[in-house]
Structures are given as structure tokens and as C-alpha cells.
């Protein structure tokens, strides 16, 4: 179960304003804030200075594991456990096994990437808390949790208003 935090959220109606707000919060030294947007906003990663995800490394290692498993599987079944002579070819005929090895590489890489994504994002979230239902259609939110460095409700409310927030609201859980 994901842990929820309380804090304060600003809601904007324009994409460029939420980007500016994110940039400002980043430059003020906030570390734990998050933005919620209805679609991926270009430039948000840079604005929030989000580090690149580690999922590609998971994919690579999982792919290698799949590759090795395929090699072991084909070798063990065809050359060790139940050798069958097919067309006079060697028991361990790599070209014939490449498709199996390839498929297992892809299968492992794909499934474990999705698993890693679920793990890192804390999915699935059952009945997640809602800051504003319109965040899935046309509103943008920036949320600062109580545990944030230098958290001060009044200052943040003031900051959000300066940044052009349409609404600033206290959030009990996000």
C-alpha cells in the first residue's frame, strides 16, 4: 500500500504556467514536490530535474537473463535431456535455437520492465486520493508535501498565487 502524504496543492489552467511553477519550485530547492498533468508535458523532466528512470537497466539485465534462459532451455531439452536427431544436424544447433532464444529475451525484457514500472510507481493504486477530478482533463496541479524542506503553508500559498495559480488548496492525502 502506497503511503499517502498531506500537503498543499496549487492548480493551474495553463501548461506554460505549471512549467514555470515547477521550474520555480525546483530553483527554490524543493525536493519532494510532484506535478500532476492530464498528459505528458514537454519540458517537465527538465523543469523538475527528474533523473532518468532506471527501467532501461532492468530491461537490459532482464533481456540478458532471457537470452541465457533460452540458451539453457534449448540446450538442455535438445542436447541433454531428450536428444533427437533432426535432419542429421548436431544436437546443439544454434541457428535453430535463435528464434527461441530471441523470443525469451523479448519476453523476459518486456514482462520484467512492466513489473519494474509497477514497482517503481507503486502500482496498482486502489482508489487513489484525488486532488481535483479535472486533473485528468484540463487542469494542472503542483503538490508540495508536508515533509518538504522548508515547508511553510503561508509562504507556499503566497508563492502559488504569485505564479498565477487558479486555486490553492490544502490536501489531506495524496
Amino acid at each position: 500500500m502506497a503511503k499517502y502524504q498531506s500537503g498543499i496543492a496549487g492548480i493551474w489552467l495553463e501548461e506554460d504556467k505549471i512549467l514555470e511553477a515547477a521550474r520555480k519550485c525546483q530553483s527554490l530547492g524543493f525536493k519532494k514536490f510532484d506535478t500532476i498533468t492530464p498528459y505528458p508535458v514537454h519540458g517537465m523532466e527538465e523543469a523538475m530535474e527528474i533523473k532518468r528512470s532506471n527501467i532501461p537497466y532492468v530491461t537490459f539485465v532482464a533481456g540478458l537473463m532471457g537470452c541465457l534462459s533460452g540458451l539453457l532451455l534449448t540446450w538442455w531439452t535438445s542436447a541433454v535431456s531428450w536428444p533427437i536427431n533432426v535432419g542429421g544436424k548436431p544436437m546443439f544447433s544454434l541457428p535453430a535455437f535463435i528464434p527461441v532464444i530471441f523470443e525469451l529475451t523479448i519476453l523476459f525484457a518486456a514482462l520484467l520492465s512492466v513489473a519494474a514500472l509497477f514497482y517503481l510507481c507503486g502500482l496498482p493504486k486502489i482508489n487513489p486520493p484525488l486532488i481535483d477530478p479535472d486533473l485528468t482533463s484540463h487542469k494542472f496541479a503542483l503538490f508540495i508535501p508536508k515533509g518538504e524542506v522548508g515547508y511553510d503553508e503561508n509562504k507556499i500559498t503566497e508563492l502559488f498565487k504569485q505564479l498565477g495559480a487558479a486555486e490553492v488548496k490544502k490536501v489531506a492525502e495524496y
Binding site: 501548461e15 512549467l19 505528458p40 508535458v41 532518468r52 537490459f60 544436424k89 541457428p95
Partner: protein, 403 residues
């Protein structure tokens, strides 16, 4: 920032004619002259060496020229925005297309040395060859060879011509009217290039056939085209001819293409190999037998390692696709491997299947390379190196590759 309109007004945009350094230009002229000389001497003195060498060079640069047109057509058809700043690089390669016809004319003199079907004696004594007479004969071969060249020239005129006219008039309509021509080109290309590769390369071993041949040759064509485009993109930016239009985001996407089609090459090469290896029918295995003995096995393995495994692993990390030094190295490697691949396709049929490589191969290749470079340089001097009036240019300027 992608969506901040105030930002990109600060980017200085410039697209001035590309003037290669005098050293590169002199080298190209010298290479073309030397190659021409080697070709003439070879035609009179070393027929058996010069024709395979010329075939290799002719096919290599024809591939790049058509590959450039293919890039342009694909991006017109898909109405791509990001590529409008690099599209002109592909279009500049098509400057070699007229020379395909010249090369075809030269090649006509070598048909008898190159192709068993062109030798009347062999044709008469070989029953299996004789049944392919309806396809493999002089008039039909010449119609296909020059028909393909003329067709490519025609489509170049329609597609690249529109792009160049737009530079002057700024007429958006040209982008839209290029779409049907590009669709027509893609059909003509897929059929025409398949026949082109079957006629020029597969017919060297006329008893043998592979139905995936055209796709195999295409996979090499497209991988080499992306490598050459990336190298030219860096050259345009570094020479200062293009400022602001091409940035690391475009290079990154071209590098993604390069990686994708590196895998595609391996996929097609393996598809061809595995079915032949598995079925093990003598008339099909001939091709790979020729490439597994007398020293050819090493070259076959080198292709697997240096055309697929190494570039694939190097291009995996994101950082490499955005780093000039490593990316250039991979591109040069891919271009060398395209040479090795064509060498591997052509040469096992000659010199009694022994691996032979000498001065004449180098000189003839350098000659055609010189002509290719000079034609591309001339194109880039005469025309803007960027399609500056493209109606989708704003998309390219704001291009932003997410993680």
C-alpha cells in the same frame, strides 16, 4: 523549452550553402580522377578484377542515392514534422541519381564478364540457366536497369524538385502535393529496388535464388543511408553552414533509426540464413557454402559481429546516441560494413571463390565515392542545406526527445 515560444526566437537560425573544406574537395576530385583512370586501365587490362569492383561501387552509391530519396518520401507520406530540418540531407544524396544512369551505361560493357547469362556459350550449355532466358536477356535486363534509373530520376524530380521549389516560393501546397508522389515512389521503389538488387547481385549466381533478397539489400541500404545522413548532419553543423535548425535532438532520432535498422539488418540476414540452413537443399545452400570456405567464413562472421552485434550494443545507451564522437565512429563502421557486405555478396562468385582484395578495388571504389561526394557537394552549394520554408519547420525547431 518545447512549448515556450519566447525561447526559440533567441536561437540564431542560419542555413547557408555548405562549402566543404578545400582539402575534402581536392581529395574528392583526386579520388574521382584516379578511380576513372583505374577504371579505364582496368577495362583494357584487368577485366576480371575491374568489373566486380565497379559493380560494388556502383551498387553502394546507388543505394545511398535512392536511400536519401526514400528518407524524404517516407517523411512526406507520414507528414513528419521533426525531420523537416534534416530531410534536405537525404535529398542531397539524390544528386547522384543521374550518375546511376552513367554508371549503368558503363556497366553494360562488363555484363559479359560479370553475369553467366550474358555469355551466350554458357547460356547454351546450361539447361537450368536457359529456362531463365525469358528474364535474363540483354534487352529486358537493359530495360530494367535503365528503367529503374529513369524512374528514380523522375521521382527525384517530383519529390526533391518540390522541396527545392518551396525554398524559393514558400508555397505550402508543395508539401501536400508531394504526398501522392511519395506514395507512388514507395511502390515503385519497393518493386524497382527488388528487381535492381536481383538483377545486379543475385544474377551473379543465376541457379540460386532467395525470395528475401530485395529486403536484404534494402536493409543494408537503409542502415548505410542513416549512417551517412548522421555524418553529413554533423558536417553541416560543424562547418557553420547550418545553425539552430539541426540540433542534438534530430541527431538522436536519426541515431534511433540507425539502431533500429541495425536490428532489422540482422533480422533479415538471419531469416535468409536460417531457412536455407534448416531446409538444407543443395540448390539453396550453394550461396552459403561459397561464403563458408576459402577464408570467407571469417568475413561472414565479421559481418555478424561488426554489422550487428557491436553497433547494436554500442547504440543501446541514450548517451551514445547524443554523443558526437562515438556516434560518428559507429556511422563510419556501418559504412565500412556496407562495403564489406556488398563485397561478401559479390566476390565469392569470382576469383575461384578465393578472397582477393587489391588496389583496383580501392581505386574504383574511391572513384565512384569521389563522384558521389562531388555531386552531393554541388547540390549543397547550389541549394539551401535545410528546407527552410517547410510548413512543418516549427515542429522540427521545437523537437524534443523525451527520455
Amino acid at each position: 523549452m518545447a512549448n515556450n515560444h519566447s525561447d526559440h526566437h533567441q536561437i540564431q537560425l542560419q542555413a547557408s550553402p555548405f562549402l566543404p573544406s578545400s582539402g575534402v574537395k581536392t581529395a574528392s576530385v583526386a579520388a574521382a580522377a584516379l578511380g576513372g583512370l583505374a577504371l579505364i586501365v582496368g577495362i583494357f587490362k584487368f577485366q576480371n578484377q575491374v568489373w566486380p569492383a565497379f559493380l560494388l561501387a556502383f551498387f553502394y552509391f546507388s543505394c545511398l542515392a535512392i536511400g536519401g530519396l526514400f528518407f524524404s518520401a517516407i517523411h512526406f507520406v507520414t507528414k513528419a514534422g521533426w525531420s523537416s530540418s534534416v530531410r534536405r540531407i537525404g535529398e542531397s544524396f539524390t544528386a547522384f541519381i543521374p550518375f546511376m544512369l552513367v554508371g549503368g551505361l558503363i556497366l553494360v560493357f562488363g555484363l559479359k564478364t560479370l553475369y553467366p547469362w550474358a555469355d551466350a556459350e554458357r547460356m547454351a550449355s546450361d539447361a537450368l540457366l536457359n529456362v531463365k532466358k525469358a528474364y535474363l536477356n540483354y534487352p529486358f535486363f537493359l530495360i530494367r536497369l535503365f528503367g529503374f534509373g529513369l524512374l528514380m530520376w523522375f521521382f527525384r524530380h517530383q519529390i526533391v524538385g518540390r522541396s527545392l521549389t518551396q525554398d524559393k516560393t514558400g508555397d505550402d501546397q508543395l508539401t501536400h502535393s508531394a504526398v501522392p508522389w511519395s506514395i507512388a515512389f514507395l511502390f515503385a521503389f519497393s518493386l524497382g529496388f527488388s528487381l535492381f538488387s536481383v538483377d545486379l547481385l543475385m544474377a551473379l549466381l543465376p541457379h540460386w535464388y532467395s525470395t528475401i533478397w530485395g529486403v536484404y539489400c534494402f536493409s543494408g541500404l537503409i542502415q548505410a543511408t542513416f549512417a551517412a545522413m548522421i555524418l553529413f548532419a554533423f558536417a553541416l553543423v560543424n562547418s557553420g553552414a547550418v545553425k539552430g535548425y539541426i540540433n542534438i535532438e534530430h541527431i538522436h532520432d536519426l541515431a534511433k533509426y540507425l539502431k533500429g535498422f541495425t536490428v532489422f539488418w540482422a533480422y533479415i540476414a538471419f531469416s535468409q540464413f536460417m531457412l536455407i540452413w534448416y531446409a538444407n537443399i543443395p540448390e539453396e545452400t550453394e550461396f552459403f557454402l561459397l561464403r563458408s570456405q576459402n577464408g570467407w567464413l571469417g568475413i561472414s562472421m565479421a559481418l555478424l559481429i561488426f554489422r550487428f552485434i557491436i553497433p547494436f550494443l554500442i547504440l543501446l545507451p541514450r548517451g551514445v546516441k547524443r554523443s558526437e564522437g562515438t556516434l560518428k565512429l559507429v556511422c563510419w563502421g556501418v559504412l565500412v560494413m556496407q562495403f564489406l557486405d556488398l563485397y561478401w555478396l559479390i566476390y565469392p562468385n569470382f576469383n575461384d571463390n578465393s578472397v582477393q582484395f587489391g588496389v583496383i578495388e580501392v581505386l574504383v571504389f574511391a572513384g565512384v565515392a569521389g563522384v558521389f561526394m562531388l555531386s552531393v557537394f554541388k547540390f549543397l552549394e547550389k541549394n539551401s542545406p535545410v528546407a527552410i520554408k517547410d510548413p512543418r519547420m516549427h515542429e522540427a525547431l521545437n523537437h524534443h526527445v523525451n527520455y
